[in-house]
């Protein structure tokens, strides 16, 4: 039985998703992000969607490297992504033990405003249509759906 503290509605990788495993090297991370942005442009997603996706992508990658893989030089991240005309899907899985998303403090409370970290998940949730962190908490699935006209 699932842990209710984790968040999943069962969004799985689309069958035609691109799946890659990369190191923490910035060049590799940037290449995939550029591929996603190019696909978004081809499928007619606008500037606001690209800004949102770029932001959520950076936060998810940063969490995977620092919190998941603990900055290990040999750490790997698995990425699955797919873009079509209606939505952007990105899954990022690290090699860590996972985390409980409900245990994160609310960085928007007055007493936490001066805390220099802990805003990644807040930003992902603000900019994506859906953010899922299924058990054990070492995967984040990001979905951005194109608004209906």
């Amino acid at each position: 039985m699932g842990n209710p503290q984790h968040e999943s509605t069962g969004v799985s990788d689309p069958p035609n998703a691109v799946v890659v495993s990369i190191s923490h090297e910035r060049t590799a991370i940037e290449q995939i992000c550029q591929s996603i942005e190019s696909a978004m442009s081809r499928h007619g997603h606008g500037e606001a969607a690209r800004f949102a996706t770029r932001l959520a992508w950076e936060e998810a990658i940063s969490n995977a490297i620092h919190h998941g893989n603990k900055n290990r030089a040999d750490g790997r991240i698995e990425i699955a992504w797919h873009v079509d005309a209606t939505r952007i899907f990105i899954r990022i899985t690290d090699e860590g033990a996972g985390f409980d998303p409900t245990a994160i403090i609310d960085p928007t409370l007055d007493e936490n405003l001066e805390c220099p970290s802990g805003r990644g998940l807040l930003l992902m949730r603000a900019y994506m249509t859906r953010v899922e962190i299924p058990e054990p908490g070492n995967t984040v699935r990001l979905v951005l759906e194109k608004p209906q006209p």
Partner: protein
């Protein structure tokens, strides 16, 4: 060993140090750490720092960059200094609003208005 190339453009006007970013994207954590160190050094050198950070060239920033700004703000407050942020585009100002950091930082629309706001 040579020092890494600066990620900042720095000038001084009316006792205020004005900092602009070289990079359009403040996302790479190595670059963010370097930016934090460079601005931290400016703050450390000045007994009562007045610092204006302009985001005129910036298209993207991450929560790690926000964290660096918070650390700089704390350092400046600790020295009874003043920090202003300015020239932030609409998309990035929304990031400050979502995180409620628009309440922590003194943000002015333009560098000119920010300069005029220093006590």
């Amino acid at each position: 060993m040579t020092a890494p190339e600066s990620r900042l453009r720095i000038r001084k006007q009316d006792q205020v140090t004005i900092v602009e970013f070289v990079d359009r994207n403040i996302l790479d954590e190595g670059n963010i750490a370097q930016i934090g160190e460079e601005i931290g050094a400016i703050v450390n050198e000045d007994p009562s720092p007045k610092l204006l950070i302009s985001f005129a060239n910036v298209d993207h920033l991450s929560s790690a960059a926000l964290g660096a700004l918070i650390t700089i703000n704390s350092k400046i407050k600790g020295k009874d200094g003043q920090l202003r942020l300015a020239d932030i585009n609409d998309q990035i100002i929304e990031v400050f609003r979502i995180t409620r950091l628009d309440r922590l930082f003194q943000i002015q629309p333009t560098a000119r208005e920010a300069l005029a706001s220093f006590a």
